[in-house]
Symmetry: C2
Subunit: 308 residues, 2 copies
């Protein structure tokens, strides 16, 4: 396939088209991914999350530039929770990368969370496969932390980074308590605000706790992404974490988990597509009518639909 | 079934047990819901969302008390995005309702977003069915606004309320832009903070815009939930919106949409349960091994799994 050949040579336009296919779940997507699969498995996938407003985007920009200086190629997938409704990505995301967009070694893409049969995790995994096959050394997946569909994204990454900032309210603290379980690296951004020491201390406590259960102790870094402060330390930790994963055998384990999740999502999507096609669709509508008229209940109707 | 009889008499302990069955997706859940279905369809379902920290919980408390004064029974389902990781609900949510918990006309439940085959929307719909059947006049579903699985919740409600507060950053603004499309009522909470007028004006613009497409123009209310200011105006709007839905025929339409969504989710969950059971499960593991060894790709393997 011409598009695949172009992608394997690193053609960004081919990548854009293939990821659109993935997003739209058109027929070609599965076809292409099937061909690409054997070229995947060579990229370091990094997830970055945190509450809105902590400066994730700025940090991703800084990290990308730092990795570029080291000669690494970087793919970025930004998950945008709003676009279920708007059908578009956050404008800022699209604008902010214009400078990096002209760099041949960077590819950035915002993805909406709407309309994916297999959920956003499936679309993200597949976009990552495209960037992996095209030769990106790292893929950064950026996401807002809340929500089930988002949390599945953590199954898709090797290294997860949680970004916080000082002085957020109670609800954020509670969200954090949940999210903390997934951070391999903690970053306190906006490190010039009051309350940094307190937050760093809290995160270090969590890191200590995690170190009792695993060999990797999550480092805590303070950054000011808008001024490029602290970026290099985060880059070093990302490299260290990859080293740890490979040495400890954890890398292979995460790859297997990633693959299991991916396979499950593909099977589910295919199953649902088959189940709602053709005659079933008419039968579905007929049963729906009976449910609305309270002649039956949805549980009995579902069994009836699937019996045939 | 004894549990069903007790529920229909308004027994809160029976409700708690049934909702746990729903959450754990145990065998009994479908059995019970099947019996309950004919007793549902009498409750006004209200969705409340907004970014973390705007004071949704406080507002829900105030609204609940106000409806209680009017002699209405109120069920509350709080969706908690953290518990994918912690397995528990936000502590504050559990504590805060202790006062209302002793009131026979109030039932409150936090639900985690983890592990539901049909997603949180399915579990929420089913919990709402339990509260509906037990005779609650209103059910309030409280959720953080972001994420695909959360947005599906909007298909499950009659009246949606978006809560904002003044002075949040750009990313919140962008989130808002997406979420706005779903608000039937807008609330600016923490109405004593700077920037209220600006936010009210923005929301009124959106309301004007929506009024061009539909007969209902979303009202914009300013509240200070911690001081119980503005609560009554929100209550009036909730009642007005129900009146509008019923008069315009929109109520029936939303009920049908709700039912369609619910039926679809039940069919999907049942389908997936069947698909991964028994022999298929062995075959799945075998194919997964081949994928990991790169002997095949997950797309081809999925087709092979479902062919048999």
């Amino acid at each position: 396939m011409e598009l695949v050949d172009r992608l394997l040579k690193g053609d960004k336009r081919a990548a854009a088209r293939l990821i659109s296919s993935v997003e739209n779940e058109d027929e070609r997507a599965a076809e292409v991914l099937r061909e690409l699969y054997k070229y995947t498995g060579n990229t370091h996938i990094i997830g970055i999350t945190g509450p809105p407003g902590v400066g994730k985007s700025s940090l991703v920009d800084r990290l990308t530039r730092a990795f570029r200086k080291k000669g690494k190629k970087v793919g970025i997938v930004a998950i945008d929770p709003t676009s279920r409704f708007t059908g578009g990505a956050i404008l800022g995301d699209r604008i902010r990368m214009t400078e990096l967009a002209t760099d041949e070694g960077v590819f950035m893409r915002s993805m909406g969370t709407r309309g994916h049969h297999g959920g956003i995790a499936k679309a993200t995994t597949e976009a990552t496969m495209v960037l992996d096959a095209m030769g990106m050394d790292l893929v950064i997946v950026e996401t807002v932390g809340a929500g089930q569909s988002q949390s599945e994204i953590w199954e898709c990454v090797h290294t997860s980074i949680l970004v916080e900032m000082p002085g957020m309210g109670d609800e954020i603290q509670a969200l954090k308590a949940g999210i903390l379980e997934i951070g391999d690296i903690f970053v306190v951004n906006k490190g010039d605000l009051a309350g940094v020491d307190q937050l760093v201390k809290e995160l270090e406590n969590v890191a200590e706790y995690k170190a009792m259960e695993q060999k990797w102790k999550p480092p805590v870094h303070v950054t000011i992404a808008t001024e490029d402060k602290g970026t290099d330390e985060v880059v070093s930790s990302i490299e260290d974490h990859l080293g740890y994963l490979k040495e400890s055998g954890e890398y292979q384990k995460r790859e297997e988990e990633r693959t299991r999740g991916e396979f499950t999502r593909i099977v589910q999507a295919l199953l649902l597509k088959k189940a709602f096609a053709g005659e079933k669709s008419e039968k579905f509508d007929q049963l729906l009518k009976e449910i609305i008229e309270k002649k039956t209940d949805p549980f009995t109707a579902a069994e009836k639909l699937l019996e045939e």
